[in-house]
């Protein structure tokens, strides 16, 4: 192994896995290389809330010590390190959901996806930043730090999973896990030029994913290539009896679909342009890259038609009733009684449990979280329930119907992932509604429970990445992987390489030496 660290970390996760299998590189070398990048990049990126270097090295050494037969039995990504959004509990590694209310909490158990990663021999590099309890679209609502977009560190990486997306974009990790409730994997993917996938609801166990809005939350992969996401989703997916909403069937053949897609033949594939999610309200550069990508799909033989999902107009409204309603209930448990922050009432105020809970929650939650708890509490209140929560659920049913009808006409739906490219830090923090609008194209998939993914579609006129979203029918995740991999391959040919060859990553400059 003589490859320089700054070259090694640019390999795809699939290539890293193959190199390990060939014996060209060890898991420990990959972990050390990424830890070196993290050390160099973090001052300007701030993607990680916690770097678990010791744990990662230990896991890598344990993997490297396995026999050839044992290694051969493991998945292709075995030994490849990964970063975890701090919304997912990790035994023995502090997990905070980027909230002060969980500061110092060390979970006594692993999420199901973490157990699966460990079983696959994938070392955990650390916990990535997010908007507090995954509530936000810029990662600026983290109680601890603001993550910067590697493409322009004056800009946001999107959110809530800005930490995972930036870490992968900045080569601090080849892979990451995110959680997606309204676009928290895909929108940061779009804004950082990475691939982000929200699997079918129930396709990946939520056990151990800190709940934001249970009926919308889904864990998914973050990577730099479509194939890497497919490989990762096959590892973390599948039924889990500890999650009642988990789908009984095992993961779909996503890796095969991605490999098939790389052949760039889309004859027989019917692609639907969602009429309601294009044109007005989308930044010109975003629309331009999107349209060019659609032309690429046509060139590869796909039949492209426009389809209408008229009820998507109401998706954002329904989402901002259902999501905060569930948030208000899911976040009730952070009351200072059992774990995390406890703030006693000041002198003169009765020292009761109720007052302790109130002072703890006042001090422990940030403004955005409080805003949603209040909204949700109101929406669920007696006398308002039917008008708000009840109506929103009806809208949800209609959106599911819209998608069903659309998928009777086409195999896969497409639209831009986010209306704009990455915005400036602080630009939208004082205007929650403007912030909420970011998720207009990602929210419908969560409401309908269908799988969706964002892949890079090139750079806008402002030099920032644009995201292209594929949406597939429920439990048919492989259906989006094929055209996504095809488009990725076609675009890379145009660009003479992956999108990140244009990324200036000065933190890599000092790491030209050997990884050893």
């Amino acid at each position: 192994m003589t490859e320089a660290t700054n070259e090694l970390v640019k390999l795809s996760a699939a290539e890293m896995g193959a190199a390990i299998k060939k014996g060209d590189v060890s898991s420990r070398e990959l972990v050390d290389a990424h830890l070196a990048v993290i050390e160099a990049a973090e001052p300007s990126i701030k993607a990680f809330l916690k770097v678990s270097g010791d744990v990662a090295r230990e896991q890598a050494d344990a993997f490297d010590a396995k026999s050839a037969d044992e290694k051969a039995a493991l998945p292709q990504l075995a030994g490849v390190p990964i970063a975890i959004k701090d919304m997912i509990v990790t035994k023995g590694i502090e997990t905070t959901a980027a909230s002060k209310i969980l500061e110092g909490w060390v979970p006594p158990y692993d999420a199901t996806v973490i157990e699966k990663l460990k079983a696959a021999g994938m070392p955990i590099l650390g916990k990535t930043n997010l908007d507090e309890f995954a509530q936000g679209s810029s990662t600026e609502h983290s109680a601890y730090q603001t993550t910067h977009n590697p493409w322009d560190t004056d800009r946001v990486p999107g959110g809530s999973g800005g930490g995972s997306a930036s870490a992968v974009a900045a080569f601090e990790a080849p892979l990451a896990l995110g959680t997606d409730t309204g676009g928290s994997i895909r929108q940061p993917g779009a804004l950082t030029g990475t691939v982000g996938v929200k699997p079918t609801y129930g396709g990946v166990s939520r056990f151990g994913a800190i709940a934001m809005a249970s009926s919308l939350d889904q864990i998914g992969p973050v990577s730099r290539t479509v194939l890497d996401s497919a490989l990762l989703q096959e590892i973390i997916g599948g039924n889990d009896r500890r999650d009642s909403t988990s789908i009984p069937e095992g993961p779909r053949p996503m890796v095969a679909a991605a490999r098939e897609g790389a052949k760039r033949d889309l004859k027989g594939v019917k692609v639907g342009l969602i009429k309601e999610l294009s044109g007005d309200g989308f930044q010109a550069g975003v629309s331009a890259r999107f349209n060019e990508a659609v032309d690429k799909l046509k060139e590869m033989g796909a039949e492209v038609v426009e389809v209408s999902c008229p009820r998507l107009e109401y998706a954002l409204g329904a989402y901002y009733i259902i999501m905060p309603s569930e948030v208000s209930s899911n976040l009730a448990r952070y009351d200072g009684m059992r774990y995390g922050l406890r703030v006693m009432p000041p002198a003169g105020v009765p020292q009761t449990a109720a007052n302790m809970m109130a002072y703890t929650r006042e001090a422990g939650f940030g403004d955005e979280v409080k805003r949603r708890i209040i909204l949700g509490t109101y929406a669920l209140s007696a006398g308002y329930y039917d008008a708000w929560y009840g109506s929103a659920q009806k809208v949800r049913t209609l959106i599911i119907e819209d998608f069903k009808k659309a998928f009777e006409q086409v195999d896969v739906l497409v639209c831009p992932t986010s209306p704009t490219t990455a915005f400036k830090l602080g630009e939208k923090t004082s205007d929650p509604l403007a912030m909420y609008m970011n998720d207009i194209a990602t929210i419908p998939a969560n409401l309908a429970g269908v799988p969706a993914m964002s892949i890079p579609a090139g750079l806008s006129d402002d030099g920032l990445p644009v995201g292209f979203q594929f949406i597939a029918p429920q439990q048919r995740d492989e259906v989006m992987y094929k055209p996504a991999a095809a488009l990725e391959a076609a675009l890379e040919e145009d660009w003479n390489g992956p999108i990140w060859k244009d990324l200036k990553a000065p933190w890599l400059d000092g790491l030209a030496g050997s990884a050893k």
């Binding site: 969980l102 009642s244 209930s329 669920l380």
Partner: protein, 499 residues
């Protein structure tokens, strides 16, 4: 300040009583309702926990299928409609003993709805109690308030929380408003609660020990001027945990509310507490429309689908219901109404049936459990079940009597030995060398000695006055350390008198 009360008879004459019961029955599943934490009474605090029962971030509930089956069985016993699709909902409120700060219960789609239970009163009257629903929910933990005067939270120095009970499955049986009970409302409530206890025990779904909190009831009472008037405002007395307490609560509330209404005062819609010490209810928290639990379907759980086939399967597993069983045993054992009631009042039906199953006659079994053993239980202040003697022990003693190996007196001594922890009846008999003296020579010698010591008695016997016979028999028994057979002694005495 003591509340004004109206005489019970006057109150029930003047007002129409409406009452209702919300009974919580703790299920005896091996594990909790939504996680594999063990369920058992009296464990070290905060040891029966998983991330789920502690509500740790990221944890998710998964329904215990056995608990659902138990609920279906109870629904069948209560003649409920069992919903093909039922749903868990979150009941949101903040309380230290609630790990998630919401309870997972059922709201508008309960598993069991719309049933009834016929309860039999002391005089044989059957009263039909209408059931609104019997839904599944999880229990909260337990707060212990330390440093206060009476264990209440008011004035406590600090409180401790034990989450072992958090997540234990409960079924809440809610009656419809019970009308037409009149002055028999307390009696009907008591009979209903006992019937529920008997049913859940027969189904094997709960230990139903009220003293351990396996069963507790919220008691709603309201009065109205007449049966055709709209319902009056009700009080809700929470967590009453004894049959007597429930009866007394209703009685007390009827008297208290009647007195208030008579004075033109309004009844407050409030939750109250039954105080066993003062035999009164005390006002608690005012209930108002502001009580808003923000119920909504729990998105972590899918709807429960209960098929007709599964209900049929549960139906096939149903044991005989207590009322039917009582009537059957009454016939089989040839009991009068009064005898049956004595058995039920002594809570001895199961024990007697077990004893009969172990080989004793019904009469013999009944004699032991209602006689000697009831006295012992009363003296010790424990239930018959808690005595250190089993139905098998009693049956064994009965067999020894039937085989002529023990007489009544020795049998009692043998049981006393069992109660004293000396072992099984057989072991006790061996240890003390109890046996009936069959050697007539020894008995004759003892009779002779007794005659000698009591010449006046012998005279009376010879003159045909048999009353003092016991003196002789007693003396013989003492001489033989109780091992003589009383009948044999009498025979020898009679022979000697006539001879």
């Amino acid at each position: 300040m003591a509340e004004k009360l109206m005489k019970y008879a006057d109150a029930t004459k003047k007002y129409d009583v409406v009452f209702g019961l919300e009974t919580h029955v703790e299920l005896c599943t091996k594990t909790k309702l939504f996680c594999p934490a063990e369920v058992s009474f009296g464990g070290e605090p905060n040891t029966q926990l998983t991330p789920v029962s502690l509500g740790l971030p990221g944890s998710l509930p998964v329904v215990n299928k056995t608990a659902v089956d138990y609920a279906i069985k109870l629904g069948l016993a209560l003649h409920c409609e069992i919903a093909e699709w039922s749903q868990f909902a979150r009941k949101n409120y903040f309380y230290p003993d609630m790990p998630r700060d919401y309870q997972i219960s059922q709201y508008d789609k309960p598993t069991n709805g719309n049933g009834y239970l016929d309860v039999e009163l002391e005089d044989g009257t059957v009263f039909r109690v209408p059931i609104e629903r019997a839904h599944i929910e999880d229990d909260a933990g337990k707060n212990t308030h330390v440093g206060g005067a009476d264990g209440r939270i008011e004035g406590a120095d600090h409180s401790l929380v034990d989450y072992n009970r958090a997540g234990v499955p409960l079924i809440e049986i809610v009656t419809k408003p019970i009308e037409g009970a009149g002055d028999r409302a307390p009696e009907i409530a008591g009979a209903y609660m006992r019937a529920i206890r008997d049913i859940v025990r027969a189904l094997g779904i709960s230990h139903a020990r009220m003293e351990q909190g396996n069963m507790r009831a919220d008691v709603n009472v309201s009065l109205r001027p007449s049966a055709d008037a709209p319902y009056g405002t009700r009080s809700e007395t929470k967590n009453v945990n004894s049959f007597r307490g429930i009866e007394k609560t209703i009685q007390y509330e009827i008297r208290r509310q009647a007195a208030r209404l008579d004075e033109g005062k309004e009844i407050l819609q409030e939750t109250r507490h039954w105080d066993e010490a003062t035999q009164t209810t005390a006002g608690g928290r005012l209930k108002s429309d502001a009580d808003d639990y923000r119920y909504f379907p729990d998105p972590d759980l899918v709807m429960l689908h209960i098929t007709k086939e599964h209900i049929a399967e549960m139906e096939a597993q149903m044991p005989e219901m207590p009322r039917e069983r009582r009537n059957r045993l009454k016939a089989e054992w040839g009991l009068t109404d009064l005898q049956l009631r004595d058995i039920l009042n002594a809570d001895a039906l199961d024990l007697i049936e077990e004893t009969v199953k172990a080989g004793a006659t019904a009469g013999g079994a009944r004699k032991w459990w209602l006689g000697e053993l009831s006295r012992e239980a009363n003296a010790k202040g424990v239930s018959l079940e808690e005595l250190p003697v089993t139905p098998a022990d009693v049956a064994e003693v009965e067999k020894l009597i039937a085989d002529g190996k023990l007489n009544d007196k020795l049998a009692k001594q043998t049981i006393a030995g069992v109660l004293a922890g000396e072992g099984t009846p057989d072991e006790v008999v061996k240890k003390h060398g109890y046996k009936i003296v069959e050697d007539s020579g020894a008995i004759e010698a003892a009779v002779d000695a007794a005659f000698e010591a009591n010449p006046d008695v012998v005279e009376k016997l010879k003159s045909g006055n048999m009353k003092p016979m016991g003196v002789i028999i007693g003396a013989v028994m003492r001489a033989t350390r109780g091992q003589a057979d009383a009948k044999a002694v009498t025979k020898i005495v009679m022979g000697k008198i006539k001879g």
